[in-house]
């Protein structure tokens, strides 16, 4: 593995990593308290870690954190779940059938480069509730990485495995269940993990435009109210939630593909 997790690393390396984070915090604190002005970039008005920490404690103590979090989580969950189901289904169809490839891939290729932010006005028009439009934005953000990785996974399943399974009597449905989906699973998991990340940053974009609750809304509201430490709290919350959900997904992926652990252990 290219990047080892904190757990596998020796105590010396783990210590180094923690020290690196602490050093970044210290530099940030020094820069903001000294109102460091480098010309191109200035720390004159940025809050420091101590202020941000205080703001974070205040947010936790207030009754606001839970509604913000649940609102954001519910939106991501809804949009992402729809993208996962539909994305894998579309990806498998495109990867398996030439007809689906010809019919579905061209429109998807046109829609794919459009950033989620560009969808916002249309989403507001398309969905009667702002909740619906925000969920749609998270959906569209997660969909493409999932579809593309699923297609890649399905197309790269070893043809000899497919031929062999046919010789052993596998029909269409059994082929999909026994060979194609497990064979494409590692790639699908990668797509789901990337989709989770894009889903989060699309959600934040959507919440900045409309909403009463949500981490993105909280961040944007703090900016308009000039509560600068709160902005950084919001940013860090987004980072933590995105990182946490991606890690959770990778774990679930490893759990779902036990044979790959075997291969790696050797």
């Amino acid at each position: 593995m290219a990047v080892s997790s904190l757990k596998d690393a020796g105590p010396a390396r783990a210590g180094l990593r923690v020290a690196s984070v602490l050093a970044c915090l210290a530099l940030w604190q020094a820069a903001s308290s000294a109102h460091l002005n480098l010309g191109v970039v200035t720390f004159a008005n940025t809050p420091g870690p101590v202020e941000v920490g205080g703001a974070a404690v205040e947010l936790v103590r207030s009754s606001q954190l839970v509604p913000h979090l649940t609102a954001s989580l519910a939106r991501v969950f809804a949009g992402y779940a729809a993208a996962a189901v539909l994305g894998v289904a579309i990806g498998v169809a495109i990867g398996r059938s030439r007809f689906a490839n010809d019919v579905l891939l061209p429109p998807l290729e046109v829609l794919r480069p459009i950033p989620a932010v560009a969808w916002i006005p249309l989403a507001v028009l398309m969905f009667p509730s702002s909740e619906g439009s925000m969920i749609y934005i998270t959906f569209i953000g997660a969909l493409f990485p999932i579809v593309l990785n699923t297609i890649h996974g399905v197309e790269t399943v070893d043809q000899r495995l497919i031929a062999s399974a046919r010789s052993l009597g596998a029909g269409r449905a059994a082929m999909l269940r026994e060979v194609i989906l497990p064979g494409a699973a590692p790639s699908i998991v990668t797509g789901l993990a990337i989709g989770m990340g894009t889903s989060w940053f699309c959600l934040i974009t959507a919440e900045m435009i409309s909403g009463q609750f949500g981490i993105g809304y909280y961040t944007w509201e703090s900016y308009t109210l000039q509560n600068y430490p709160d902005i950084v709290v919001g940013m860090l919350l987004i980072g933590l939630l995105g990182m946490g959900s991606s890690a959770l997904l990778r774990r679930a992926g490893e759990f779902a593909t036990p044979w790959r652990r075997v291969g790696r252990a050797r």
Partner: protein, 285 residues
């Protein structure tokens, strides 16, 4: 019902068979008007230079490559697509990496809808037949190359095929393991009787295993000679040092000696032209 029993069927008629590979301007004749009759329960080896179409012929018997001309009959029925009654073993194993050895062997019965307990029991019995008791719950990645091929053979034999097709199944193994696997195959074949067509480029292997050896010409593949290897069975490795064996081997060597103007050809596979993992044409099954 025992896994080990006689298989009465497995007559193969290869009648003036020609096979084209590739598309458009790149297409070529891999096999030309080749004929061969194989009796039920017979062990036939096919020898030939690389790219001569011996694996192509095997792929046609398996139903993965369509025949361009002539007829291909197994027990009087024309070959139309792959079928569990014609099992194929490739040079490199094609076990499902996400299934244990036992589950891999039980794959055929599962496709027939056999209940789980029953299919796992017969799979365990078949694994024992190939000498792999105790490895039921290992994943393919945890097994050695020889063991993987044994699981592969067990997975094919559990379907009681009329025809066992093998494409250089021991070609990727080290010399020691290969000898061991050859003896093991003969031992299994003496108990699970089925017709075997065994493609190899190893003359010793062909003569040691087979009743008859078909020697093919370079592309397009035709019959050069059909040699009887009528050594008594059971055979053991000592056979390969006997004068009669050496005489036959010399004959085969002469027949396989490349002409000065022969170009070495790329290896063909039982799935057609394509390199591993790359389909010759997109199929949707």
């Amino acid at each position: 019902m025992s896994v080990v029993e006689a298989m009465p069927q497995g007559r193969v008629e290869i009648d003036e068979v020609s096979i084209m590979l590739g598309r458009g301007a790149q297409s070529f004749e891999a096999v030309r008007k080749l004929s061969l009759s194989i009796a039920p329960g017979e062990f036939v080896a096919i020898l030939g230079p690389s790219g001569c179409g011996k694996s192509t012929l095997l792929g046609a018997l398996a139903g993965h490559i369509p025949v361009g001309g002539g007829r291909l009959l197994v027990d009087q029925a024309p070959v139309r697509g792959p079928d569990p009654s014609r099992g194929i073993v490739f040079q490199h194993h094609t076990l499902l990496p996400w299934r244990t050895a036992l589950e891999n062997v039980a794959f055929g019965p599962k496709m027939r809808g056999e209940p789980r307990a029953q299919r796992l029991a017969s799979a365990a019995e078949m694994l024992a037949t190939v000498g792999l008791s105790g490895f039921e719950n290992r994943y393919p990645a945890e097994l050695s190359g020889g063991m993987q091929q044994r699981v592969e053979i067990a997975r094919v034999l559990i379907n009681r095929p009329r025809l066992l097709l093998m494409d250089e199944p021991f070609g990727a193994l080290d010399a020691q393991t290969r000898l061991m696997m050859q003896s093991l195959l003969l031992d299994i074949w003496s108990r699970v009787r089925t017709t075997v067509v065994f493609v190899t480029h190893d003359i010793d292997e062909a003569l040691f295993l087979a009743d008859r050896v078909l020697i093919m010409t370079p592309r397009p593949g035709r019959t050069r000679r059909l040699t009887e290897a009528s050594f008594p069975r059971p055979r053991d490795v000592q056979l390969t040092t006997e004068p009669e064996f050496a005489r036959l081997k010399r004959q085969c060597l002469d027949l396989l000696r490349p002409d000065a103007d022969d170009q070495p050809l790329p290896r063909l596979t039982p799935l057609g032209l394509a390199a591993a993992g790359e389909p010759e044409r997109r199929r949707s099954y």
